[in-house]
């Protein structure tokens, strides 16, 4: 079960993920990101501080946007991950492909520098 909240801060779209992302709830994540892109945001911050678990399907959602974002110059930064979730990202090597910040402040910094 995942609960997704969206709010806008300093021209960036902040998507907060609360709960667990498995195969079925990964669709909601995909929809939320797609919606944000559809609304024309070029800065997307993903708040993972309340994300308890992410399955490979959920990771696949982030992965699937990497190239598209590069082409369209959309910047996405994830932040606030627990060690466990961060480990999941790093095992797959996604930490090398995605921008991951420690907290929101750092994330905003990264997104502005990109």
């Amino acid at each position: 079960m995942i609960h997704i909240k969206r709010l806008q801060e300093d021209g960036a779209d902040v998507i907060a993920l609360v709960g667990e992302i498995d195969a079925s709830s990964s669709i909601e994540l995909d929809l939320a990101i797609a919606k944000s892109v559809g609304e024309g945001f070029s800065k997307i911050l993903v708040d993972c501080s309340a994300l308890e678990y992410i399955s490979s399907a959920g990771l696949g959602v982030f992965m699937s946007y990497i190239e598209e974002f590069k082409d369209r110059n959309i910047k996405m930064v994830l932040f606030g991950m627990s060690d466990k979730v961060a480990n999941t990202f790093s095992i797959l090597g996604l930490n090398e492909l995605l921008h991951i910040g420690k907290d929101k402040v750092q994330a905003k910094q990264i997104v502005n520098e990109l």
Binding site: L59, G60, M63, I91, L92, G93, L94, E96, L97
Partner: protein, 690 residues
């Protein structure tokens, strides 16, 4: 067969008794005219007449009452036919009489009187036959819907009449008041019984017309026969009293009254029922239609046929001039079923109503007809003046609209609204059931597919692993109900090189099994060529880019064990880190290296995300390979097995052989999760060096 023989016998008895009646009656009459004492007793003709009546009574009882296939019109037809034959014979006799010079009855010649008596007896026989036929037929009609009370009354009537035969036979001193009283009783009972006309309601319009005609002719024949018999009997009565006069016969007189009264009643009842027949027929049709819709779910092949039945039945139930059924099951599906109206005409009306923003159009309110007609009137060029519209709901969603049209203004009444409302509700339920069934079937099919996928997946895993004097290897894989995508394999490159792979395909089900088979193909073709592990990953990624869909990836670790140099080269592409036990230092650790999963980077730059690693192995070292199902296995409280536990466990069992280590691991894993029903895939591969 037996009853057939009995009917024949009864018929023969009837003929014989009639002949006997003719003979005895004429002989008595002749004797009386000639003033001779008759050779036969005077009471004999009466007895014979009653025997004749009895035989005919049972003859028709067997013939009519036992015949199951006769319907109402058939019965009326039989009565009519009997009447027709009787009348034709009677008329033929008149013709013969006329041709013979119509002998005057008052000419008192013995021959004339005898001839007249013969004609009279023939007519009497015909009349009795006709009456008995009608009596049996009316009995069936009256008792069509019987009650206990009605059966008792009828039994009294029938038995009572038969008893009067005895009274008549024995010529009990003819008491005028007794005859009158008996006749009176039977006439009254006959009248009460004539009130049972329920069968009329079961006739349809056409049958009613046929029945009216048949009954009218039957009444005409009855009156003719009565008249003929009455005049003939009167004629003979003027000359002599020594003949069989039916006027004193309670049975015959009662029958005459009963049969005539019932015929006239039936005629009148049918006549007055005629205007309302269409309503009854309509009601009956509604019931049948309703059943059709209810049953359509069991018999029909598709939703489409349910829609067609709904359209058809609604139109026929309310006599609509035209109708359409608009179905919008989902955004992509739009269908229009029409009846006597073109698609264009329907859309014109729909758009017209929509453009006037008539909110209540598709409500089930009963007062909508009038309002809608008003709106229709503003649509130029439309021939319709009334419209009735109903929504069709499936699981609370409005999936479509049924619209019925009439050219008459205010053509729909409340009754019709109710009926069509019931129909559309029932259709909604039918469609809902239909969809549920379809869903269940789909699920069944999906399960079947999964079963096949699981079989395929199992068959993709090797049954035998590469063996080498330098190391022992054991592997285990178990997948959950859903098909997973765990894969492991070994391949000998040459006498001192062995490659090992472990991989995990993202996602589950048939696609995972499909990607797994691709991975196997890639492994078997690339490993043969003895390329470096990092190069293996780059090429595998290149190959997979074209077949992995958006969001799918494969994590893998690929090893090449060189038994000559005692070194292992490997590359990890996003797979779980290798757990390694160093026997010399008694140390267990996870290898910390980098690598992105296959399919995540879909261009040439992937090479920069893959690291080439190398280490030397020593005897007693243990390499534990696994998939995330192992570390992510959860206990009852939702806590994960985790990397720490896995590491600690390997320390405990470092001295065992690979197969034993594996058994222990699996045992521990099941113990941890506390259930036999795993919800993920567990795969382990253990290599122990010698």
């Amino acid at each position: 067969m037996r009853s057939k023989a009995i009917t024949r016998l009864l018929f023969t008895v009837g003929v014989i008794t009639w002949l006997a009646l003719v003979f005895t009656d004429i002989s008595i009459l002749f004797s009386s005219l000639s003033n001779i004492k008759p050779e036969v007793p005077v009471w004999l003709p009466g007895v014979i007449l009653n025997l004749f009546i009895l035989s005919l009574f049972y003859y028709y009882k067997l013939k009519i009452e036992r015949d199951e296939v006769l319907n109402f019109v058939d019965l009326l037809w039989r009565v009519f036919a009997t009447g027709l034959i009787s009348t034709v014979i009677s008329l033929a006799l008149r013709l013969v009489e006329h041709l013979l010079g119509s002998p005057k009855i008052d000419s008192h010649s013995a021959f004339n009187v005898v001839f007249n008596d013969l004609v009279y007896l023939i007519n009497l026989g015909l009349m009795i036959g006709f009456l008995m036929m009608a009596f049996s037929a009316w009995k069936r009609l009256i008792l069509y819907q019987k009650s206990k009370w009605l059966l008792r009354l009828w039994a009294f009537f029938e038995v009572g009449l038969l008893v009067t035969l005895v009274y008549n036979s024995f010529r009990v001193p003819q008491v005028e008041w007794l005859f009158g009283a008996l006749l009176g009783i039977f006439v009254v009972v006959g009248l009460v019984l004539s009130g049972n006309m329920k069968w009329v309601a079961f006739l349809n319009f056409k049958q009613k017309w046929t029945s009216l005609l048949l009954l009218l002719l039957t009444i005409f024949y009855l009156l003719y026969i009565f008249f003929t018999n009455s005049t003939l009997s009167q004629g003979i009565g003027e000359v002599s009293t020594f003949y069989t006069d039916y006027h004193q016969h309670v049975f015959i007189m009662s029958l005459i009254v009963f049969v005539t009264v019932y015929s006239i009643f039936s005629f009148l009842v049918i006549l007055f029922n005629l205007p309302t027949t269409s309503v009854f027929e309509q009601k009956l049709e509604e019931v049948v239609n309703f059943q059709r819709i209810s049953q359509s779910i069991q018999t029909e092949q598709s939703e489409e046929s349910v829609y067609n039945i709904l359209l058809e039945t609604s139109v026929s139930s309310v006599f609509a001039d035209a109708a359409w059924l608009e179905i919008n099951s989902n955004a992509h599906e739009h269908k229009l079923f029409t009846y006597k109206i073109t698609d264009k005409e329907s859309y014109d009306i729909i758009h017209h109503l929509n453009s006037h923003n008539i909110k209540g159009v598709f409500d089930q309110g009963s007062e909508k007809t009038k309002n809608l007609s008003k709106h229709l009137a503003t649509l130029k060029g439309s021939r319709f003046r009334s419209i009735l519209a109903f929504p069709i709901y499936v699981k609370g969603d409005n999936i479509g609209t049924l619209a019925l049209l009439k050219e008459l203004p205010e053509g729909f009444n409340k009754e019709m609204t109710k009926i069509v409302s019931t129909f559309s509700n029932q259709a909604g339920i039918s469609i809902e059931n239909f969809r549920l069934m379809e869903e269940a079937l789909q699920n069944e099919r999906y399960k079947e597919e999964l079963k096949i996928a699981k079989m395929v997946q199992k068959s993709l895993l090797p049954t035998l692993l590469e063996q080498d004097p330098d190391f022992d290897v054991a592997a285990f894989s178990e997948s959950a109900d859903e098909v997973g995508g765990d894969y492991y394999d070994t391949l000998r490159i040459n006498d001192h090189l062995v490659s090992i792979i472990i991989a995990d395909v993202s996602g589950k089900g048939t696609t995972a099994a499909f990607h797994m088979s691709q991975m196997k193909g890639i492994f078997h073709s690339l490993a043969q060529r003895d390329i470096a592990p990092d190069e293996f990953m780059v090429q595998a990624n290149q190959a997979l880019v074209y077949c992995l869909e958006r969001g799918s990836f494969i994590s893998a670790t690929y090893f090449i064990i060189n038994t000559q140099t005692k070194k292992i080269r490997y590359a990890r592409a996003g797979h779980c880190p290798v757990l390694y036990y160093h026997a010399d230092r008694q140390l267990t650790e996870y290898f910390k290296d980098k690598g992105v999963a296959l399919g995540m980077v879909r261009n040439k730059s992937y090479a920069s995300f893959i690291q080439a690693n190398e280490f030397a192995y020593k005897p007693g070292d243990i390499m534990v390979l696994y998939t995330d199902g192992v570390t992510e296995a959860k206990d009852g409280k939702g806590e994960e097995f985790g990397y720490e536990r896995l590491l600690a466990m390997v320390c405990e069992i470092k001295d065992l052989a690979p197969a034993q280590i594996q058994d222990y691991m699996i045992h521990k894993l099941y113990e941890f999760s506390g259930t036999e029903n795993i919800d993920d895939d567990y795969t382990t591969m253990i290599v122990k060096f010698k």
